[in-house]
């Protein structure tokens, strides 16, 4: 294998992986489509793989290792949770901002002891009871989306449905003017989609969103409203009000953490049902399946990986990690580990033993899991209620995205009204 400068972050297009144990590539198109065969192979011969691609990283593949690593905070630090390193110009700007204002996106980018008070600040916004308040809004939205395409007999389950739900729900929760929701959704997609590979688009859209939140704060100085941004403006962490920079950061985190993650889960679930007739029929026939089916789909199609930064020398199994190195928290592979799950590579809608960690494990476990679950539940229930039958119409046209968040981005479906 040729030596590669670890700072060289250019994609090695046309440069195939030589050995997944020492040269894995999380952006490899086949891996993005179906990573399970790679994980099966690695678990047997090299359960913690390494690569020099994308700035270099370790990749655990067993449940036990991923859990131990999640618990190894802050030796494994959350200070830069991105899997693909930001482009150099964005990186420098971020470093300068963090020096001036503190952690960019608390709590996901913070370690103990700073982490806990920020986490506790946002948890009440997303408790199981709090998110139920948004169920009627979500149901209305899902129905409206279906109204737009049902008469045509076809839809893109990702573009026309899954991707429309999370950004509008979170915009509603934060308190964004519904008249500006479309514009806002475009910026968010600019960061999450185009921004992954185009640093200019990412910076420009990031700026739009941050300015937008700052303007919302300014508008509320004379009169708070019943929305999350107002709640953050009066909240205190350790006896002190939050700075505008931090409030903007928290809102921004809710976007980047809560949107493409959830639309990937909804999209993957619909893709699954659109491809698998037996499971589709079961959902129509057995509505009691929803709770376990949702957990199973979260396990099987776990969309999210996060990164950790090594702060002190530490070893896991044969992997000796040095300060500065990156570790990919491979929750999706942990969820396919045969040591923990029976028939790990099959979707079993009524699986009862399911300690999946799609939402992470330990102190950084997802703060928005109740919201994500509610959105998935509504998106699937409304879909199955309104649509009498459906199927993926052109499997070859389906496109998956990956890297930090994996899920289908194009899913052409044939749909019949119920």
């Amino acid at each position: 294998m040729t030596e590669r400068d670890p700072r060289d972050m250019r994609p090695r297009e046309g440069c195939p992986v030589q050995d997944w144990a020492t040269d894995f590539d999380v952006m490899d198109p086949d891996y993005i489509k179906d990573p399970a065969p790679v994980w099966r192979d690695l678990r047997e011969r090299c359960p913690i793989a390494h690569t020099t691609r994308w700035g270099g990283a370790w990749l655990p593949t067993t449940y036990a290792d991923v859990r131990d690593m999640a618990r190894a905070a802050p030796t494994l630090s959350n200070r830069s949770p991105g899997v693909i390193p930001p482009a150099p110009e964005l990186r420098e700007m971020l470093i300068a901002e963090v020096k001036e204002f503190g952690s960019e996106l608390p709590p996901i980018s913070s370690d103990a002891p700073e982490h806990k008070p920020f986490k506790q600040l946002i948890l009440p916004l997303f408790s199981p009871h709090a998110v139920e308040r948004y169920r009627p809004f979500t149901e209305q939205l899902a129905n409206d989306l279906i109204d737009r395409f049902i008469a045509t007999g076809k839809a893109d389950a990702a573009v026309d449905y899954a991707q429309q739900i999370p950004p509008r729900v979170i915009a509603h929760i934060i308190g964004i003017d519904p008249a500006r929701a479309d514009e806002f959704v475009e910026w968010v997609r600019g960061v999450l989609e185009e921004g992954q590979t185009n640093p200019e688009a990412r910076m420009a859209n990031r700026r739009h969103i941050r300015d937008f939140f700052q303007a919302m704060i300014d508008e509320r100085r004379d009169g708070l409203r019943d929305d999350a941004i107002s709640a953050l403006m009066t909240a205190e962490v350790e006896g002190k009000r939050l700075s505008d920079y931090t409030i903007v950061g928290v809102c921004y985190l809710l976007l980047v953490a809560g949107i493409d993650t959830t639309w990937s889960s909804i999209g993957a679930a619909l893709w699954h049902f659109g491809m698998t007739e037996s499971d589709r029929k079961r959902m129509y026939a057995e509505p009691d399946l929803y709770p376990t089916a949702i957990e199973e789909l979260l396990r099987f199609y776990s969309p999210v990986v996060m990164a950790r930064r090594v702060l002190e020398p530490v070893a896991f199994g044969a992997a000796e990690m040095a300060p500065g190195e990156k570790v990919i928290m491979n929750f999706p592979a942990a969820n396919r580990d045969p040591a923990v799950f029976e028939q790990p590579d099959e979707v079993v809608l009524d699986r009862t033993h399911n300690r999946h960690i799609a939402f992470g494990v330990g102190i950084h476990r997802c703060a928005g899991s109740n919201l994500a679950r509610m959105e998935m539940d509504v998106a699937l229930r409304v879909w199955f209620q309104r649509i009498g039958d459906f199927a993926v119409s052109d499997p070859d046209a389906v496109r998956w995205a990956g890297g930090q968040v994996r899920g289908p981005r194009i899913v052409p479906m044939r749909v019949t009204a119920a």
Partner: protein, 66 residues
Amino acid sequence: MRICVDAEKCEGHNRCFALAPELFEVDDLGLAKALNDGRVPPGLEDKADLAIANCPEFAIRIVEED
């Protein structure tokens, strides 16, 4: 059957509440508590087992079998 949630281990995933709302309550920070002092009403034992087998922090345990 009687169950309990170990407050030290619970990280507030709320999986217990999502799968067996009859048996658990969760607070604003997500921390779970077994309702009714952990006593599982007859007929809900399967739900208790389901919650136990879905808690990723291994925080729920049986303190009294029937």
